[in-house]
Amino acid sequence: MSPLVFTLRDAPLQRLDLAPLAPDRLVGLSESKIATIQLQTTRERVLAGDVFKIRTGEATQIRFEGGSERFDRIGAGMSQGEVIVDGAVGIQAGRLMQGGRLAIAGNAGPWAASGMTGGILAISGHAGDRLGGPLAGETVGMRGGVVIVRGNAGARAGDRMRRGVIIVEGKADSYVGSRMIAGTIIVGGRAGRLPGYLMNRGTIVTINGSDGLSPTFADSGVHELLATALMARYVETYSREVAATLRRPWRRLLGDMAVIGKGEIFYPSVAN
C-alpha cells in the first residue's frame, strides 16, 4: 500500500501545528477532507491543502516530502503507524506520542518526545534542548518508548524522564538527565557539564565522559555488570555502534546525592 504523501509547496509563512496530520486522526478521511484541516498557529488561517500537495495513500503510512523548522508538534499524540519527514521539524515533535514510529531526516527543535509514553522517535539530525522533557508546569517528562538521535542533543535531554530509553549517538549538551526520575539515557559522544544533575533514579551512560561531573556523585568503582550487557542487547536494534561500546567495564557513579541518590552514571573506566 502506498503512503499518504504531503509535499511541501513553499516555506510556511508562520509556525504550523502539524499534530492533526498524525495517522490516528487521518484514517478514514478523504483527500479533500484532509486538505481542509487547519494548521495555523496565528489568527491567519492555514489549511493543509494550502501548505502541502496531498497524494492519497494509506493514512497509517504518512510521508512529508520537505521539512521546515516551522513544522511544530509533528506526530504529536500518535499511537500507531509511521510518519516519515524528509527534512527538519520544529518544536515538540512526537510530543505525548503513544506508539508507532516517527522518523525525522533532519534536525528537530526543542521538546522533541516531550511526555512521550510509547513508540519510536528517530531523529537523523540533531535534537534541540529538553529532548523528552516536560513542558512548563508538568512534573514528568518522557514516560516510555525509545528516542534515537543520530546527531547531538541540546541541553537537559531527558529532563524529568520517568521511563523509556534515549540514545544520543553524538554529544549531549549540559545537564543531560537532569532531575531524572527513572529510565535510561545513553550518550555516545561526550556529555556536557553536570550529567544527571539532581537525578533521583535512572541510568545515564556517558560513553565518552563529560565536561564536568557534579561532586554530589559517589564513585563505586569499575564494574563489569550484566545490566550493561542486557542494555547492549536492547540497544542493538536501534544503534549497533552504541551497543558495541556498552559491553565493557564501566565506572559506576551513584547519585545525585544532593537528592535521594538512587541514580547511576556509567562513566568510562578511565576517567576523562
Partner: protein, 302 residues
C-alpha cells in the same frame, strides 16, 4: 492384564493417567555452564513430588549462550505444582534461596504466557531498598546488589495452567542391573525431548506409590502391588520372572510433550530388548477417573 509382545518385551495394555498442573519455566545463566547447572541443580533439588516437596522441578535442557537473554551459558528449568499459589511460593523460595545465592547467577523468564508469576518482583526485597528496576521494551528486570556484583532477574515469568504432570512408565525386569540399564536408556531418550522433566533422582523413582495408607494422615504409601518382595502376600501385579521394578515420572508443559517423552522412553526400552533390559513395560493409573490425560502404551509403540 492383556499384553502385547514387542521385540520380546511384554507391554501391558494399560495407560498412564496424568493430571493438569500449573507450571512455569526459568532460564538460569552464570559465568559458565558448570555454575549455571549448579544453580539449576540446587533450585530443583528436593522437588521430586508435589506430595512432599510442594512442587516437581527439574532441568529441561542446557542452553547455549546465543539462546539466553544475557549471552552467557544457561540452563532451562521447569517447575510444576498443583496450584498457582503453591507454584508462586515455590518459585519465590527456590529462586531466593538457591539461584540468588549462587555465584554469578541471573534468572530470567523461561516461558512466555499471558498469565504471570512474580519472579524478581518477589525476591527484589532482598535488595533492602538498593534494588533497581530496569525496563527495556516490554521486559522489566530487577537488579539486586549482591556481594559479587548484581543479581539480575526478570520481574515476572509466564504461568501455564495447561501443563501435565504424572506421565509415567513402569519398567519391570529380571534383575536390578538389567532393569536399571533399560530405565537409564529411557531417561536418556526422554532427556532429548523438549519441555519435559523427570523430577526423581536421575529421572528414576524406585519407590512408586499408591494413594493413601493404612496409617491416618499419610497421603501416599508404597505401591505394594509392584513390590517384588511382597509377591504372594499382597495383591501383586508382578509376574514370577520380575524381581525389580523402576518408574519414570514425566511432567511436561503440554500433553503432546508428555506423549512424545513417553514414546521416546518406551521405544528406547523396546529397542534394548529383554536380554539386556526390561522384560515388561507397564504404566500407572487410577482407573482413569482422576486424571484428564490418558497415555495408552499401545499408542506409543513403534
Amino acid at each position: 492384564m492383556s499384553q502385547l509382545t514387542v521385540n520380546g518385551i511384554r507391554v501391558d495394555d494399560t495407560f498412564a493417567e496424568a493430571f493438569e498442573m500449573r507450571a512455569t519455566a526459568l532460564t538460569i545463566t552464570a559465568h559458565n555452564a558448570a555454575w549455571a547447572r549448579q544453580a539449576a541443580a540446587t533450585m530443583t533439588g528436593f522437588a521430586t513430588s508435589v506430595i512432599g516437596c510442594g512442587c516437581e522441578a527439574g532441568i529441561d535442557r542446557v542452553l547455549n549462550p546465543d539462546e539466553t537473554p544475557d549471552g552467557r551459558p544457561g540452563v532451562r528449568v521447569l517447575l510444576f505444582a498443583v496450584s498457582t499459589n503453591e507454584l508462586q511460593k515455590q518459585v519465590q523460595a527456590r529462586v531466593g534461596q538457591c539461584v540468588l545465592t549462587s555465584s554469578g547467577s541471573a534468572c530470567y523468564a523461561g516461558l512466555e504466557a499471558e498469565e504471570r508469576l512474580k519472579l524478581g518482583n518477589a525476591v527484589r526485597f532482598f535488595g533492602d531498598g538498593w534494588q533497581i528496576s530496569k525496563r527495556f521494551g516490554d521486559k522489566r528486570y530487577w537488579r539486586i546488589p549482591v556481594m559479587d556484583g548484581e543479581f539480575i532477574c526478570d520481574a515476572t515469568t509466564g504461568l501455564s495452567r495447561t501443563a501435565v504432570g504424572g506421565g509415567n512408565i513402569i519398567v519391570m525386569g529380571a534383575t536390578n542391573e538389567t532393569t536399571l540399564a533399560a530405565t537409564e536408556l529411557a531417561v536418556e531418550a526422554i532427556a532429548a525431548v523438549p519441555n519435559v522433566i523427570m523430577p526423581f533422582p536421575g529421572g528414576i523413582a524406585r519407590s512408586g506409590s499408591k494413594v493413601g495408607s493404612k496409617y491416618k494422615g499419610v497421603p501416599a504409601s508404597t505401591n505394594d502391588a509392584y513390590c517384588p518382595t511382597l509377591r504372594g502376600a499382597s495383591n501383586s501385579a508382578l509376574d514370577p520372572d520380575i524381581t525389580s521394578v523402576l518408574e519414570i515420572v514425566i511432567d511436561g508443559l503440554t500433553s503432546d510433550s508428555v506423549a512424545a517423552a513417553m514414546r521416546a522412553g518406551v521405544r528406547a526400552i523396546l529397542a534394548l530388548g529383554p536380554e539386556r533390559g526390561a522384560l515388561r513395560i507397564g504404566a500407572g493409573n487410577y482407573g482413569g477417573k482422576l486424571g484428564s490425560h490418558h497415555y495408552h502404551l499401545k499408542d506409543l509403540l513403534p
